[in-house]
Symmetry: C2
Subunit: 502 residues, 2 copies
């Protein structure tokens, strides 16, 4: 067969794997939005059967042979071409999938299913010991996982690589060691200033009106409803069934105006990233984003850099006041802007403001690295959590439910995931500086409700590439440097100097 024939066959295999993955994603979406409780057990079977078929196809010898045949061919093409990148990313996935044994995958699925239940119980009853043996088992499994990838530079690298392809722990710790003292120092400066008032965010807000306003906002910023929809869920997420169908979910609270509004913008940011991919990426592993961190840069950009900016509310606030007159008529735009940007050390990551969020992440990352390095035992984890929490955020959790047990990630075996959230903030700020340079009147455009040039810029520079580039490679191409914390610190300092007068 000629290379063109091999390529066609590879695309065909990958397209079918994508079809099955999209189908599995729909099963997951349904499970978290509409499925009646009676569907739980069979949904588990359905997802397991699909996962097994997907895995079998991903590690098939035909896949391996096609890659062997195609690599000499694509090495002669433009290294940035679709074909070259397709073969490269497929090879990366193939190597990962084939190194991990089927036994490990089965055990991991079994252990994390039980751990998830145990975590729920431990959190509800504020008893870490319910969760401890499960986390120990997960840690053991993760140690065995990284051994599949030996030799490695650092024991945390193979975990990080799941979420940030190509990135090393040494890069990560360099970034965060530089960032942490600056964030801690900023937080201390803010804490010395008079606090802003955000009590108006917690009046009673009609849920349907919140929903409608969120829809209005994301429609205005360019959300494509022909290829998307929004549904309600308990824990908001975005999911894709291909380029023509990328869905977001949101959660409404009658006493928290910020939750649904910024949550909706956050998920819309994720969705617009996927919806902005080039059409030839669809049904290939290049569809989606460069990494979890780059994805988070998009969601947090719309949520924070735009959604919590002053010009944005110069455009939207008059209408928000019209929708909620009794709650907001006496709240000036300046008070509103300050309220939605209130900084306060708090216990729960998902409720953290922009100035404290990364500290929640860094603490988790340090603990994960210590656990993986063998410098911390699971038994000592709660105490280590509380000590670091006091050091970084100046408060000590009153209990483990509001501390070490707050996140679902570890119970699902997701070690190495947290750094992506913080990287997203950094990458977002890097892109923000770049975009403000490329579009000098960007702030004025936002003030006038013009978001098309911004979205067009993101599409051209970031979205269209999908997963063609690794995260560091993408940021290097765009900004001329790798992921860098300086723009984020500049952004935070500028923002809070005006809000808190520091």
């Amino acid at each position: 067969m000629q290379p063109e024939g091999h390529l066609q066959r590879l695309k065909s295999l990958l397209a079918e794997i994508a079809d099955l993955s999209y189908a599995a994603a729909l099963l997951g979406w349904d499970q978290r939005t509409y499925m009646p409780p009676g569907g739980t057990q069979n949904r588990g079977y359905q997802l397991a059967t699909l996962a097994q078929i997907i895995h079998t196809r991903q590690v098939s010898s035909e896949m391996g042979n096609l890659l062997d045949d195609l690599e000499p061919f694509v090495s002669q093409l433009d290294p940035d071409s679709f074909e070259t990148r397709l073969v490269k990313v497929t090879r990366r996935n193939y190597e990962k999938e084939t190194r991990v044994t089927a036994e490990w995958v089965a055990e991991f699925a079994m252990v994390t299913t039980a751990a998830y239940d145990a975590w729920g119980k431990a959190r509800a009853e504020n008893n870490f010991h319910f969760f401890q043996p499960h986390l120990e088992h997960i840690l053991d499994l993760r140690h065995r996982y990284v051994e599949f990838f030996a030799p490695y530079e650092h024991v945390y690298d193979p975990l990080l690589d799941i979420f940030e392809p190509g990135m090393k722990t040494s890069e990560l710790t360099a970034i965060f060691s530089a960032l942490r003292p600056q964030q801690v120092a900023l937080l201390k400066k803010i804490a010395d200033r008079p606090q802003v008032d955000d009590s108006f965010l917690h009046h009673i807000y009609d849920e349907q009106k919140q929903w409608d306003f969120g829809v209005e906002v994301i429609t205005k910023i360019g959300f494509d409803w022909k290829r998307s929809r929004q549904d309600k869920t308990l824990h908001p997420f975005t999911t894709s069934f291909g380029l023509g169908d990328v869905r977001i979910t949101t959660r409404l609270s009658p006493t928290d105006l910020a939750s649904a509004l910024f949550g909706t913008m956050h998920e819309a940011g994720h969705a617009m990233y996927n919806l902005g991919g080039e059409s030839l990426l669809d049904r290939t592993p290049l569809f989606g984003g460069a990494s979890h961190g780059v994805h988070e840069s998009q969601s947090r950009m719309w949520e924070n850099l735009i959604g919590r900016s002053y010009p944005f509310w110069q455009y939207f606030y008059p209408h928000l006041q019209e929708v909620f007159p009794s709650q907001l008529d006496n709240v000036s735009i300046d008070s509103f802007y300050k309220g939605i940007n209130k900084v306060q050390s708090s216990l729960i990551r998902v409720e953290a403001d922009e100035a404290t969020y990364n500290l929640h992440i860094m603490l988790r990352m340090e603990l994960e690295i210590s656990l993986m390095e063998g410098n911390l035992a699971v038994n000592d984890l709660p105490e280590a959590w509380n000590t670091l929490f006091q050091e970084y955020l100046g408060i000590t959790p009153p209990d483990n439910s509001n501390g070490v047990l707050q996140d679902v990630h570890w119970s699902r075996g997701l070690l190495g995931y947290f750094p992506s959230y913080a990287l997203g903030n950094l990458i977002g700020a890097q892109l923000w500086e770049l975009i403000n340079n490329d579009i000098p009147d960007l702030q004025e455009q936002i003030r006038l409700g013009e978001f098309a040039p911004w979205l067009a810029w993101l599409r051209e520079k970031v979205h269209c590439h999908g997963a063609k580039f690794e995260p560091q490679e993408l940021i290097q191409r765009l900004t001329g440097s790798k992921i860098d914390p300086a723009p984020y610190m500049r952004y935070l300092e500028q923002k809070y100097s005006s809000i808190y007068g520091i």
Copy 2:
């Protein structure tokens, strides 16, 4: 391997096929309820990929070998046991799937996809010629299909067998030849009497209140919301993703009170059939119903035999009047009962009343048989339709859109499907006589809103068996005779003699 091992392996293969089929069903449900328009193309790929994997597994040589190995084993077991029936039904499906060539399946999928589009255009523009070549192609494909099953008693048999396993065209024509003149005669008697008034059904009815009332009704009759849900759609349907998740859909019209209400009860009847299966049928081909006709007996029983009965409204009408006082305060229960049972020859099958419905079906069946026998050319179909319509229903369609082009079925290649609708009416009436015999105070219970004994009877006699028995076999076991039109005629004559005073 011992028989038990073979049986275990067969169940495991079938369970995975069921998982994939349930997943495909969810993709279909989503497509018809929530999918944004941009998802269409990829959804087609996803369904095609799943269908291909399901087919490959259904016709695998391992499946054939397991059946060969197991048949001597189960022949020594109770012929009604789960194991015997599982092997029997799996063999039946296997024989069907393996006889039909992959080329035929691919061509059929391609042709019917194009035909569906052409039918939509032909119907919208009232031009049969747009659809004619597609239907000719479909007819050709259906002729090739039946040849896979040669020798057969009648050319229509292999088509009928898709929807009514084991049933023969000769049985069908015997039933309908006996029934047709009686239904036509009844219709003429009714037409000679003063017409009843149903104009109150077409006032403006708030859609949310219609929805809520429908939910209240099906909740009362025993619908299990823990294992089901209801959503809105254009063309109502019921679909299953296993025993714990069977969903219904409905459509609301602000000027047609009957449409959503009886539609909701109809779909709930389908759902309760599937939800009433024995738990060991789940994830096997025995899950579901005995046939389309038996399924339709359940839906039309709740919709018509109960939902359009006088005792039912003795219970529910006072509350319906409370919900819609301005529309119904001046409508007595007698007038309401007559209105929802108005008989009038009409053009559209899906809007037909109980007295005329079967005539719509018989005309389609006769045309299908003539087409398959080669006694009717597609070119002459519209004229043949109109001639029969005048003969059976006393009116001639003004155009093809309201005549031969009204149903989607033929464009999807579904020849042999229509008879099931009429069989459902007959089977329902047979069961109705049986239940009234077994539960002598049934009418009184309905008047008091007691539906549990009725549902329990259906579960024990019909639902629990799933697809274990073929339709004629099931009806024979229950009633002592095969499918018989006499109870249905008795039901109609009794009902309309009181309503129309005949």
